[in-house]
């Protein structure tokens, strides 16, 4: 996935030789994120509009972790988020886009990050309860899982998102939590991992959503910690990076999905942190900022935030501490 990718390349492309001992280029990354929204003369900016609200969340989170929460203007951020809201309480990815679980979660996460959840209850706005009921109505009463929108596509991503947003809103009581938990359980595989639906191949991204959901529900006791921890630690490849499934290529975004899952079950030390840190740092563009999926590829905001969040979990000096859930 990419969101306003480029312009730079991780590792600086062919013309730059990176030094052996790499550091995190904090100022470059702050600048990179700040300028994302000024690139409106590029087609890609508009072709990623269906992700805009999530993109804003990723950029904002990265800035907070980098210790520069002020780098995006607060009032404009709130105004943009509110402009994406529908009457039913849900949010679309951008003004005029249909309400969807994923963007509703991003909206709540953004407002929570900048301590602005009360903005939802201002006169003339839908209110927190409405947001809560939009999310709660997407739960399937039979299976406990969640759909993304009225069309009914289900995915453990939506389930995790629902629990995350509702817990931030203190509205978890609106849903059948035990049913959601038992759906997550049904997605567990014999290898210790979790897939997108019952029987689906274990996938690090889906594992994050399932373990995160169980953490929010206070049911981490249901996780087979040793087996899952083992599967997750096997994601580290020789070069230090992490892949998302067996026999796949490593990718910076799994520094977050795998690492945060390991952190949630208390097994972060089962991978080689130093090697992973070096891999993430090699994916930076030292000149224009941003992080790519792998050295030599185009940077984008998605990999930038997950690379930085991964470094934060590894206690990289100077970064704010991230909550693995």
């Amino acid at each position: 996935m990419s969101l306003v990718s480029g312009p730079g390349r991780g590792g600086g492309g062919a013309k730059h030789d990176l030094p052996e001992e790499l550091a995190l280029f904090v100022d470059k990354h702050v600048e990179y994120i700040q300028t994302l929204d000024t690139r409106r003369d590029e087609l890609e900016y508009w072709l990623t509009e269906h992700l805009r609200l999530s993109g804003l969340y990723w950029g904002l989170t990265a800035l907070h972790l980098l210790g520069h929460p002020e780098a995006l203007p607060r009032a404009e951020t709130i105004a943009f988020v509110i402009s994406c809201q529908h009457e039913n309480g849900g949010f679309g990815a951008a003004p005029g886009h249909d309400a969807h679980m994923l963007y509703t979660v991003s909206a709540i996460q953004i407002l929570a990050t900048i301590d602005a959840l009360d903005e939802l209850d201002l006169p003339g706005r839908a209110g927190k309860d409405k947001v809560g009921s939009f999310i709660a109505n997407l739960q399937d009463p039979e299976t406990g899982t969640f759909a993304g929108d009225e069309w009914g596509e289900t995915d453990t991503r939506f389930l995790y998102g629902a629990l995350n947003a509702l817990s931030l809103l203190h509205l978890l009581s609106l849903i059948d939590l035990p049913a959601a938990v038992s759906h997550v359980q049904s997605c567990a595989n014999f290898d210790g991992g979790y897939g997108v639906s019952p029987g689906a191949e274990s996938h690090a991204g889906q594992i994050f959503t399932c373990v995160g959901a169980l953490a929010i529900a206070g049911r981490l006791d249901l996780v087979d910690t040793d087996r899952l921890g083992r599967w997750l630690s096997e994601r580290q490849v020789e070069g230090g990076g992490l892949n998302g499934r067996p026999e796949k290529l490593e990718d910076v975004c799994y520094s977050w999905w795998v690492l945060s899952s390991l952190a949630m079950i208390g097994r972060l030390h089962w991978i080689d942190g130093k090697k992973l840190e070096a891999f993430i740092l090699r994916c930076q563009d030292p000149e224009m900022g941003g992080i790519a999926d792998r050295p030599g590829d185009m940077v984008d905001v998605f990999h930038t935030v997950f690379g930085i969040a991964g470094l934060s979990l590894l206690k990289y000096p100077g970064l704010e501490e991230v909550d693995p859930i």
């Binding site: 996935m1 290898d191 096997e234 580290q236």
Partner: protein, 315 residues
């Protein structure tokens, strides 16, 4: 084409995106995309489900296939018009082949397939997708949905397709997972379902043959462990098999860290073999899988259980 000069669209007043007074949402769309989107907003606002609306969605999808709202509107329109859904599948095939990472298209295809009620031809299309990327997660999820929805558990083509994918790449974990799903996936709906003994035997032999061809491939090892667990057989069933690839007394001849791992688990549970378990775990931590040294040390530490009595002191 330009919508504003087309006679087909003369009666529609396009709806430009509101940019309001917040600069983060300001507008600078590229011309074609921007124009098409403004007509989409107009037909959606008018709830217009028509042939020209379908053409419009195709135009937008060709520029931006990840725009989820367009897909939803298209599905609604197809159903309203009672369009030929086979034709829609042909259209979707081309898009899916072009945009491998797209999410939206798969749910759309599922909606179409549910309405159509006949999966003929899906196997052929999926094979084309796998030619491009045989580990595409969307395609595998969709394939599982097909199996479940149309009850294709015992379909001979399911197994033979998996067979040829594994022949092409024995390290394709997605294919291994599907193979496992075909055997045990029915338990989800029918918890008492157990596969026939000859199926279990066939699958066990299949996995063992795959291990011989690539002992360090994790997939068949996980598959073997899964079969044993699901059929309630002890891990020690494959002890001598694993020992072939992990003669731990002659470390230079070890061919598979996964075989070592199996032996470590068996020894840990076997009276009088704790010392061998330690040897095997040390080999993994120091030589055959040092990147996960902490994990192997943890397993070693667990070999000596802490006496329960110590917890009573606190009371």
């Amino acid at each position: 084409m330009s919508y504003s000069t087309s006679p087909d669209w003369a009666d529609v007043e396009p709806i430009a995106q509101e940019d309001g007074d917040h600069p983060l949402a300001a507008i600078a769309y590229m011309d074609d995309y921007s124009e098409a989107m403004s007509y989409l907003r107009a037909v959606m606002a008018a709830n217009e489900h028509s042939e020209r609306a379908l053409v419009l969605t195709e135009d937008i999808i060709s520029m931006n296939p990840a725009h989820y709202t367009v897909w939803l509107f298209r599905a609604k329109t197809l159903f309203e018009l009672g369009s030929d859904l086979r034709e829609e599948l042909t259209y979707l095939n081309a898009i899916a082949l072009k945009y491998q990472k797209n999410y939206q298209i798969w749910h759309h295809r599922q909606l179409i397939m549910e309405k159509l009620g006949d999966p003929t031809g899906e196997g052929k299309f999926i094979a084309q997708m796998f030619e491009k990327d045989a580990k595409n997660y969307h395609v595998w999820s969709y394939r599982q949905w097909l199996v479940r929805h149309f009850s294709l558990w015992d379909s001979p083509t399911e197994l033979s397709d998996i067979q040829s994918l594994l022949l092409a790449d024995v390290r394709n974990n997605s294919a291994w997972n599907h193979r496992f799903f075909l055997i045990f996936g029915r338990q989800e709906q029918y918890p008492s379902f157990t596969p026939l003994p000859e199926t279990v035997k066939r699958e066990t032999e299949y996995a063992k043959t795959a291990v011989y061809s690539a002992p360090q491939n994790p997939c068949p090892w996980v598959f073997l462990r899964g079969i044993l667990k699901k059929t309630k057989q002890p891990l020690s069933t494959i002890q001598s098999f694993a020992a072939e690839f992990a003669p731990f007394e002659r470390p230079d001849e070890v061919k598979s860290s996964h075989a070592l791992d199996v032996l470590a688990d068996i020894f840990a549970e076997t009276e009088g073999r704790k010392e061998d378990a330690v040897k095997v775990l040390d080999l993994l931590a120091q030589r055959y899988d040092p990147i996960r040294a902490n994990y192997w040390r943890y397993k070693k530490a667990r070999l000596t259980p802490i006496p329960m009595a110590t917890t009573a002191a606190a009371a």
